[in-house]
């Protein structure tokens, strides 16, 4: 009984046509052949936004809040994507989020143990004098084994480097020493240390290598001749 009209006659429908109000002779609206457009035309235009002092103040509050949140330590930047080649402009783009992690002091008792990050690691990237001084005190108490090993290696390194570098080298060494004393994690410390090791300690002893810097230095005495 039901569905008897299926296929017979174009205009049979599953519900009673009269009851819903489509009388004979009325044309049905054209059937839809494709999905509705993404931005359909609106017959009624929407009302304008509510203006007024309150709305403007709320708007200003909202935008200020957003801006303020961006500068707080809660705003976590993803790890900066390393580009394929080091570019000159990288020096001028500020990638470090300043002293974000250091600012954020919170009561670690309210967090589960596994989230307590800051208790172990003091800052690694703070290079300013104030930070290094305070951190050196902190890190001096921890992981003495690594310190000793690093110090021995450092001593060897300093002896080698003394031959090539002048006064600028000593300052760099001190900077490197400070950096290393801040580093707590073994892996990171060894990684950075290894890099520097490779920079200075190549297979070729530096003093044997003549990189041509002394060339042309002798001819400074006699300025009459042309320098080729």
């Amino acid at each position: 009984m039901t569905g008897r009209g299926r296929g017979r006659g174009r205009r049979m429908m599953t519900f009673s046509v009269e009851a819903v109000g489509i009388n004979r002779g009325d044309s049905l609206p054209p059937s839809i052949q494709q999905p509705t457009p993404l931005f359909p035309v609106m017959e009624q235009k929407p009302l304008p936004l509510a203006g007024g002092e309150e709305a403007e103040y709320l708007l200003a509050l909202k935008q200020e809040f957003r801006g303020a949140m961006k500068s707080l330590p809660c705003f976590i930047q993803p790890a900066a994507a390393h580009r394929d080649v080091e570019r000159y402009s990288d020096k001028y783009h500020s990638t470090e989020p300043a002293d974000g992690p250091t600012d954020w002091t919170t009561d670690w008792k309210r967090f589960p143990k596994e989230l307590r990050v800051r208790v172990k690691k003091p800052t690694r990237d703070g290079v300013s004098a104030a930070v290094t001084r305070s951190d050196r005190v902190q890190s001096g108490q921890k992981k003495k084994k690594i310190k000793e090993k690093e110090e021995v290696l450092l001593k060897l390194e300093t002896l080698e480097k003394k031959e090539e570098r002048g006064s600028s080298g000593e300052e760099e060494e001190e900077g490197e020493e400070k950096k290393k004393k801040q580093e707590d994690e073994e892996a990171e410390g060894e990684e950075e240390y290894d890099e520097e090791e490779f920079e200075e300690e190549t297979d070729y002893v530096m003093s044997y290598f003549d990189n041509g810097e002394e060339f042309g230095g002798d001819s400074d005495d006699n300025m009459d001749e042309a320098i080729y």
Binding site: L47, L49, K62, F65, A79, R110, L115
Partner: protein
């Protein structure tokens, strides 16, 4: 946790906390409670960043952690919920309300707490005093005691509450199997609204012109200068529910003012104010108040005689919106404010206005008719609405296709034969309200995406203008001549200026629209929540 809500939460987290937190947050929203390892594995973010993101989320109250469900020793699980994140949309409104109620001090206190998630009273007071001092003239500074008193007032009126202690956070290793699965609700805490005794004496510090050096020195000072003020470990957070009650009251009062007149709205305001502390947040109506009490508590500027007050009350009771109801005759008449009914009426008005603005006033007439008469046949709709048949049909089908109107079948025979079934049109208010609420979430998400898109398009131009502003500011600070300033200003060409202006206008419009949609969201959410509890 619908798809639209999750999408909106992701966008809000991204705007306020960064992409990493957004990823972690949406992952938690979609997958429910998870432990740290699973989160790291499934999101693919490094351990460090995930830990930081979870800390940020926990501090702001969006994420809760509890010991694992499987066994007492299993790792902690983290859970987020949409509601708390969606509140972020309403932050400007909270701050503005605090400003109207408690002045600039209150405004800054709420703003600081919203930005940081939770803070102790002493640190809040210090930061706010510093900020206020910054904006005052030279030589004047803000005293800590003023800020403390504003803070206490906020706590007394329950706008701020203490954070509940995290059970199981510190005692995880002690192996107590009875750590509760859900963290304690702040209200269940007896000391929730007790202001601790804090010794705070001092004035706000003004930041000097050399800001960078001062910042570092100040930062160092705060680190080394850890004076205890007697309230360590007591953290305060903003009590959103209280703000919502306040917004609800305001909505009712303004509705009465629009429908009737100013005096009636003042009467309703008085009634609501008197029942602020005696009414629980989920109550259907306020406690009954006698007309005598209302008369005594009316503000002195409104000295209306007693019989007039009685007439106003009778008018309010007879009004079809049913804001005020009569609960008895003692004491000159006992009156209540029907909170849930008022919310339902406000939601209904919202639905009607949506239909009116989308489909025209005649469709709105049909919609209102169906709301009032519940079930109507096609023919009856045409008759009651006084709209010609063809147009009525058209409008009904449009509303039906948008799911604002539903078709109810009533069979005469058990086999549901179409010729022998009644087809009635009907509107169900609650499901329609829910559907519109989801539409609102989608709207806000679209607005945010469009705003991000517009900013991204003109990123280069925005950066250039920011740099030029920075150059101008530094030049002005170091005292340059006007010619230099104009020269720098001219680095932005006129068409670029126009573009910037247009961009600013668009972004302001989109932001304003978000605020406005949030008002609708609040109404609909309150209505849906009120039906859930009653």
């Amino acid at each position: 946790m619908t798809a639209q809500e999750v999408r909106l939460c992701g966008l809000l987290l991204q705007e306020h906390f960064g992409e990493v937190v957004a990823k972690v947050g949406t992952h938690l929203l979609k997958s429910g409670a998870q432990n740290l390892r699973t989160i790291i594995h499934e999101t693919g973010i490094s351990l460090d960043l995930v830990k930081k993101s979870l800390c940020v989320l926990v501090q702001h109250g969006t994420c809760v952690f509890s010991s694992g469900r499987k066994a007492p020793g299993s790792p902690t699980e983290y859970r987020t919920s949409c509601d708390r994140i969606l509140r972020i949309l309403r932050y400007p409104r909270y701050i503005y309300t605090a400003k109207t109620l408690y002045g600039d001090t209150g405004e800054l206190i709420i703003e600081e707490l919203l930005q940081r998630g939770d803070m102790t009273m002493s640190s809040t007071v210090k930061t706010v005093a510093d900020r206020l001092t910054q904006n005052m003239e030279e030589g004047r500074s803000m005293d800590y005691s003023e800020v403390s008193s504003a803070f206490s007032k906020l706590v007394e009126t329950h706008f701020l509450q203490r954070c509940p202690p995290m059970a199981g956070a510190g005692t995880k290793d002690s192996g107590t199997p009875a750590t509760p699965a859900t963290p304690a609700i702040p209200e269940s805490f007896p000391d929730c609204y007790r202001v601790p005794h804090v010794t705070l004496i001092g004035r706000g510090k003004r930041r000097l012109s050399n800001e960078d050096g001062e910042d570092q020195r100040n930062a160092k000072k705060t680190k080394m200068d850890s004076e205890t003020h007697g309230d360590e470990g007591i953290y305060w957070q903003v009590n959103f529910e209280r703000f919502h009650l306040h917004f609800r009251d305001q909505a009712i009062i303004s509705a009465v003012a629009n429908k009737l007149d100013q005096t009636s709205s003042e009467i309703v305001r008085t009634m609501l104010r008197m029942s602020e502390v005696t009414t629980s947040p989920t109550a259907t109506c306020t406690k009954p108040l006698s007309a005598n009490e209302i008369f005594r508590s009316l503000p002195s500027s409104y000295n209306i005689p007693r019989p007039i007050l009685d007439q106003y009350l009778t008018l309010l009771v007879d009004d079809p919106m049913e804001f005020v109801g009569k609960a008895g005759e003692s004491g000159g008449g006992m009156y209540v404010v029907n909170l849930h009914k008022a919310l339902a009426n406000l939601a209904r008005a919202t639905l009607e206005s949506v239909v009116q603005e989308r489909f025209g006033s005649r469709s709105a007439r049909i919609f209102r008719l169906l709301l009032r008469k519940r079930h109507l046949e096609q023919k009856q709709v045409e008759d009651f609405a006084m709209i010609p048949a063809k147009e009525a049909k058209d409008m009904l089908y449009t509303l039906l296709s948008q799911n604002l109107v539903q078709l109810q079948e009533i069979p005469k025979t058990p086999d549901y034969a179409p010729s022998r079934t009644f087809y009635l049109y009907t509107v169900n208010q609650l499901p329609t309200a829910r559907m519109l609420l989801q539409n609102c979430y989608k709207t806000v998400a679209n607005l945010i995406e469009r705003r991000l898109f517009e900013s991204k398009e003109s990123k280069r131009l925005l950066e250039k203008s920011q740099r030029i502003e920075a150059i101008l500011a530094s030049l002005q600070a170091s005292g340059a001549e006007p010619e230099q300033l104009t020269e720098v200003e001219e680095m932005i060409t006129a068409p670029e200026k126009q573009q910037l202006e247009a961009l600013r206008l668009h972004i302001n419009k989109l932001d304003s629209a978000e605020n406005q949609v949030d008002e609708t969201i609040f109404l609909l959410e309150s209505y849906v929540n009120s039906t859930a509890t009653s």
